[in-house]
């Protein structure tokens, strides 16, 4: 079974991920993504009629923590990886 990705498909995925691609990249990524999808499509060969759908790779459920306060990071640490701050807030290019 062959899976190919059109140029439009690649551009749509790129735009959803806020990526700007050159024409060469669109072509090469289209081929690469196509082969990934082809690889995954091997799963279609399995008969899954009698198999329950699963929501998680590990069969565990109900993992909780109690509603108890943990110490938060001090502000300077919270902001320390940000490209830009004013010491109180994360600063980002103007929204709106």
């Amino acid at each position: 079974m062959s899976v190919s990705l059109s140029q439009d498909d690649v551009l749509k995925v790129a735009s959803l991920s806020r990526l700007k691609l050159s024409e060469a990249e669109v072509n090469s990524l289209g081929q690469q993504m196509g082969s990934v999808l082809k690889y995954i499509a091997m799963l279609d060969e399995l008969n899954t009629d009698a198999i329950e759908p699963m929501a998680h790779a590990i069969e565990i459920s109900n993992v909780f923590r109690e509603d108890e306060l943990q110490t938060s990071l001090p502000r300077e640490k919270a902001l320390s990886n940000a490209p830009q701050t004013d010491g109180n807030y994360f600063l980002v290019p103007a929204i709106l």
């Binding site: 998680h56 993992v63 990886n81 807030y89």
Partner: protein, 494 residues
């Protein structure tokens, strides 16, 4: 040609947990100390792993059950992808195809006169994490926006109604009833100023054409509704806008994809927010970091048992059991659970629901307002008020004296006054009702003797003179029964 208005509401409610949905940071509303309630989980730092808050799931179940939803045996978590500066992971953990509650309803009263009721369907209610808060440069110079991530990760339940609402007024009533219910069952404070309750409205029109066909106009989602008034005004505006737009263009739902508009409360208009061409594509998929949750019948039953009587049921019971007017019952219920409990204790122990309602809705609520107090801090305990009302009922004191005692109890200097204070005040102030004619008779006689002119005036037909005479006796004996005094005067002067 006319139209029917079709409205569905999506309501986001903050659940009152101490900590966030997937980490142990505080959920306290704390805008003055930005970015002090974060950790690697809610900052979305690489490698950090979320773990579900047990209490948040519990409050979610309570909410679902209160709005008559099914709680499925299995529910899971999904990632909703979008880029915005208040969402550091670039996805929100939410629930997509298997929400934790679904297929419920909430009943609202359409008209207090006719008592006509309507069940509004609820499609689903699911848990998700809140985003942070952006603040924008208002100067228009395009300065940087600021981001505070204190709120990021706070537990929300999103309640999605069926498009069953038919007017702005109905939408408001639904929202008010929902808010009241959620505060009664104690899952949220629903404080709209602090953003604990937020609402989006999906609105369109079904246009009935002359040929009998009905055409739906494009659906518009109105965002940014953070007051009851805002919800009502925005929908009213949007209905007019869509009707005009339909008449001008004739475009229907089939021609135009769903559009997002924001409510501008200052200008009283809705404005286009998201271009129609880049409609959201959230690419949901199951979150591999979080385990699904299973719910047993026993757990469902246990949480149902925790629910108190719903405000709508209690309103009806107050009208029935205590013979309250629709209005009084609504005033008491709308004040919240603590006031309803206070009223009920007073009504039960004084044995007169109507009287208890009068005092609670007038005297108690007035004092609470004037003093800016919450009922839990009100100095007069319900059993004390009940004892006072019993004295009025038994005609041991007049209603007027009852109000004097009420004021004295409020001003009691040594903490919370007990029932015994009532009798002390009555004695100190001489408020005990005196209808013993012997004692009254001599004072009335003395007043008649002293006031020849007033007596003559009364005898010549001036009724007003009698009031002044009665007043003199009442000043002499505060607890005098005005009816008895009046009769004595008339007997002596006729």
């Amino acid at each position: 040609m006319d139209y029917t208005v079709i409205i569905g509401l999506e309501v986001h409610v903050q659940l009152q947990t101490r900590t966030k949905l997937f980490c142990g940071c505080s959920t306290k509303f704390n805008p003055d100390h930005p970015n002090t309630q974060t950790c690697p989980v809610c900052l979305g730092l690489p490698g950090a792993l979320p773990v579900l808050n047990r209490e948040a799931f519990h409050l979610g179940m309570k909410t679902g059950l209160a709005i008559n939803c099914e709680i499925p045996a299995f529910t899971k978590w999904d990632r909703k992808q979008y880029y915005y500066p208040d969402l550091p992971k670039a996805y929100q953990i939410s629930q997509y195809d298997l929400p934790m509650s679904q297929n419920g309803w909430l009943e609202i009263e359409l008209d207090p006169e006719t008592r006509e009721k309507k069940k509004i369907g609820i499609i689903r209610a699911h848990l998700e994490e809140d985003a942070g808060k952006n603040s924008h440069d208002e100067s228009g110079r395009g300065q940087d926006s600021k981001v505070d991530l204190n709120r990021c990760g706070t537990p929300l339940i999103e309640i999605v109604s069926e498009p069953d609402l038919r007017s702005a007024q109905e939408a408001r009533t639904y929202l008010e009833e929902l808010k009241l219910l959620l505060t009664y069952i104690d899952v949220s404070d629903c404080n709209m100023q602090e953003g604990s309750l937020r609402c989006d409205a999906n609105v369109n029109l079904h246009v009935h054409q002359a040929n009998g066909e009905t055409v739906p106009t494009p659906i518009v989602e109105i965002k940014n509704l953070n007051s009851f008034r805002g919800v009502e005004q925005a929908i009213e505006y949007e209905v007019q806008r869509q009707w005009k737009h339909w008449q001008e263009t004739g475009l229907s739902l089939k021609d135009v994809p769903k559009e997002t508009r924001g409510w501008d409360a200052d200008r009283g208009v809705t404005l286009e927010q998201r271009g129609k061409e880049d409609a959201a594509d959230y690419r949901y998929f199951p979150d591999p970091d979080l385990a699904p949750v299973t719910v047993t019948d026993a757990e469902r039953e246990r949480v149902s048992q925790e629910l108190c009587e719903r405000p709508a049921d209690r309103r009806a019971r107050f009208e029935e059991s205590y013979q309250l007017s629709v209005y009084d019952a609504a005033v008491i219920i709308d004040q919240g659970l603590a006031v309803a409990d206070y009223f009920e204790t007073v009504a039960e122990s004084c044995g007169n629901g109507k009287q208890a309602a009068n005092w609670v809705t007038q005297d108690v609520l007035r004092e609470l307002n004037e003093r800016g107090l919450d009922i839990s801090k009100f100095p007069i305990q319900p059993d004390v008020l009940a004892a006072l009302l019993q004295k009025v009922n038994a005609e041991e004191i007049t209603i007027k004296s009852g109000r004097t005692v009420f004021q004295e109890l409020l001003n009691y200097p040594e903490g919370v006054p007990g029932i015994e204070q009532i009798q002390n005040i009555i004695e100190d102030k001489g408020l005990a009702l005196v209808s013993d004619t012997g004692e009254l008779d001599s004072i009335v006689q003395a007043v008649v003797d002293k006031n020849e002119k007033a007596v003559a005036d009364f005898q010549s037909g001036k009724q007003a003179a009698l009031g002044a005479l009665i007043g003199q006796v009442m000043r002499e004996i505060k607890g005098a029964d005005p009816k008895a005094v009046r009769e004595l005067f008339i007997a002596k002067m006729s």
